[in-house]
């Protein structure tokens, strides 16, 4: 051990010991496993279905009781994706005539089948977000993942059908804007921002939730487009310039 390493060890040891002590102190005073003191959670579990007619209470919280927070989160995602686009798109050369075919037929076949499976799963998650666990965010990421599988299974050419900036950018904007539009529509109608205008529907069916359904789909479109824009930017900037030329 050199003298420099020894010095480092001497400096690190007390700091690490301090952190270990704080961690141990915190764990020692943590409540027992399963001990729950959230009065708000119990209350919402009781009133959400009669008040909002959505059998998935989490979605009622995300799109109704805390709908304004979700709008903030959606715009955080929007702003960060815009940041990535601004950084990467400016310094990129346009791709021309490159392909990276996947050699194995088995991988291609299995991959393409899985694209369909994951897309249907994503759409189901988003559509039934108000009824069963899931919702726009989870559905959106799954849809984006399913489409990226096209690139993994059949190469760059096939992916380029979906991974186009001009195709994805409008959806990214549309998702973010339509969330705000649903909120503003309530203001125009003389109700509070994001107030549910469309009626609550029948609990436990796809027609439950009213405006929440629209917000849910807005988030699904926004999240799917945001993820796809992100993947497109990274792929175009980092992988495509190194693909073999035809």
């Amino acid at each position: 051990m050199s003298s420099r390493q020894r010095l480092r060890a001497w400096i690190a040891a007390p700091v690490l010991a301090l952190f270990a002590a704080i961690l141990g102190w915190g764990f020692a005073r943590a409540p027992a496993f399963g001990d729950f003191h959230g009065a708000y959670g119990d209350l919402l579990n009781r009133i959400a279905v009669p008040q909002r007619h959505t059998s998935n209470v989490v979605t009622a919280i995300v799109f109704d009781y805390r709908g304004f927070d979700t709008m903030g989160e959606e715009f955080i995602l929007f702003a960060s994706v815009v940041g990535v686009v601004l950084l990467l798109r400016a310094v990129r050369e346009p791709a021309t005539g490159q392909d990276d075919p996947v050699a194995s037929d088995a991988i291609r076949l299995f991959g393409i089948i899985m694209v369909a499976v994951i897309l249907v799963f994503g759409l189901w998650l988003a559509a039934f977000g108000l009824v069963t666990p899931g919702g726009g965010f989870q559905g959106g990421v799954a849809i984006a993942g399913g489409i990226v599988l096209v690139f993994l299974a059949s190469g760059y050419r096939a992916w380029r059908t979906f991974g186009r900036e001009r195709l994805l950018d409008p959806f990214e904007g549309l998702g973010a804007a339509s969330y705000a539009a649903v909120g503003l529509a309530a203001l125009i109608a003389g109700a509070p921002f994001l107030h549910n205008l469309l009626g609550l529907g029948v609990a436990g069916t796809l027609r439950s939730g009213g405006s929440m359904t629209l917000l849910n789909w807005a988030v699904a479109v926004e999240v799917a487009a945001a993820n796809l824009v992100l993947y497109t930017e990274f792929l175009e900037s980092y992988l495509v310039p190194h693909l073999p030329r035809r």
Binding site: N56, V58, T59, L125, P133, G134, G135, F137, Q138, V141, A142, A144, G145, V148, N227, L230, Y231, F234, L235, Y238, L239, H242
Partner: protein, 70 residues
């Protein structure tokens, strides 16, 4: 859970590490389901096994290529 987390932290090769972290995310999702939080489990599942590994894999392939060219 503890084993998976430790193996992620101790793994030195980034490529293996990202697959291990995917496995860790999957286990965490199972834990969320067991604790009756299916919504959180689904979020964890899609983020930890789809979105996050993809970004990291692209970054790894980029750095490997740069090192290979030197």
């Amino acid at each position: 859970m503890a084993c998976a987390a430790t193996s992620v932290a101790l793994c030195l090769d980034p490529l293996r590490q990202i697959f291990l972290s995917g496995v860790y995310g999957l286990l965490l999702a199972v834990l969320f389901v067991v604790l009756q939080a299916p919504d959180v489990a689904l979020s964890m599942l899609v983020v930890s096994t789809v979105a996050y590994p993809l970004i990291v894999l692209i970054a790894i392939s980029r750095t490997r290529r740069e090192r290979g060219e030197e």
